[in-house]
Symmetry: D2
Subunit: 133 residues, 4 copies
């Protein structure tokens, strides 16, 4: 996972949002992010796009963990609970399918208390390219 | 729409991503964003989370346009085509339902050539609170 | 569309539910179904599965209309309004993308008054097989 | 669960498809169905609408298990693997959230070998009505 983790950690958008890639295994990833002022919406809660983006980084890490380029083609997110300033959110992605042309992943977004903030399911399409040579 | 547009334009996350709110009417919104280096993923394309976030801002503007606080509870996104550095993306959200407790919105994300980059459907839950007093 | 329409009209499940295939063009399909007693749920409304199935037949017709076998891989449905005994529902599917490996379709389910009962988006994966030789 | 199970077992559409309600607990349901000729599509596989309908019955049982009328408002399904004539499919629905106005449920559809055929997530809206007086 060495070169791959390195590549993941250089994702510009993940870095721009302050997302930390904590762990990536085959078909699994755990990432985290702190809700700072720039991630809020005009209601004063964590922005839905920021929460989705955290889930999406976990999804990208897990779906690319087989060292073959995978792109997200569809994703659904259900928001369960609001999150606010100062919360540290964790997103955990797990493969629901065997490695295949199309892969389905479940992603849970949890707050500090382990409560479910959002739940997502993503579908990835694997290309023939190797990700890291 | 004066006070409301002002409120929308102060959304911290939308500003952080460089999203411009171009137009908001009842049940409709148009927003745009330029893909700069900080919005890319590790494959070098526009990050799926950034594209979703643009769609989500359009959704938030359209669903809150009835001056009643609305929160997104579910959203699905299908990615149709990649987008890259320098592209200017536009997201247009339109209400699929009459104003109601639950509202469904379709959001199209288009590139400069008018090609469909992503397509989303979001569901919003309207609270009893007035948004702008 | 001759042979293809014939094949579509022999779909066993569509027939079992009393679904009529009204029109199929390239990337488009219109189908209809009457809500009889066997399609109700225990609340006394049209069953969500029956409504989905109608949308799904329209989706299958539209996505296979390029004479290349396509299978649905993902679908999202939003229910807008209940439907009851005696209603005649129509589902209309339209291609959101150019013919491609992956296709996205929007499906509207309408009642007799033209009101939106449900709205679905489906993604299909096209195989290399020709559908009708 | 006595009266409730009885009500569930009288669902007309579930009966029409030959669905058996095997077990319902608070926030949980298990149902099953055999793929007979009338549930096939024109490709000769189990129809996506039939598979969805099985998942939807499990979802309805689990979401109504708190004895308060709940209606499905949104559902996403991902199809993982084809299923054919003679397969016995089981759908298991589990609550992802605490009983609340809006509930999210995960539904797995498995074949005889325990392989994942489809995976769904549904959102239910609970009304104020008691289901069984």
């Amino acid at each position: 996972m060495g070169d791959f983790m390195k590549k993941m950690k250089e994702d510009p958008f993940a870095n721009y949002l302050g997302i930390t890639i904590e762990d990536v295994e085959e078909g699994y990833a755990k990432v985290s992010m702190e809700i700072k002022g720039n991630l809020l919406n005009f209601h004063g809660s964590a922005n839905g796009g920021a929460i989705f983006s955290l889930a999406d980084v976990a999804f990208a890490c897990a779906s690319n963990s087989h060292h073959q380029a995978a792109v997200g083609i569809a994703m659904t997110i259900y928001y369960m609970q609001a999150s606010g300033m100062g919360d540290r959110l964790v997103a955990i992605a797990r493969e629901e399918t065997k490695p295949h042309r199309l892969g389905v992943y479940r992603i849970e977004v949890l707050n500090d208390k382990g409560e479910l903030i959002a739940l997502a399911e993503g579908m990835a399409y694997r290309k023939r390219d190797k990700l890291v040579p």
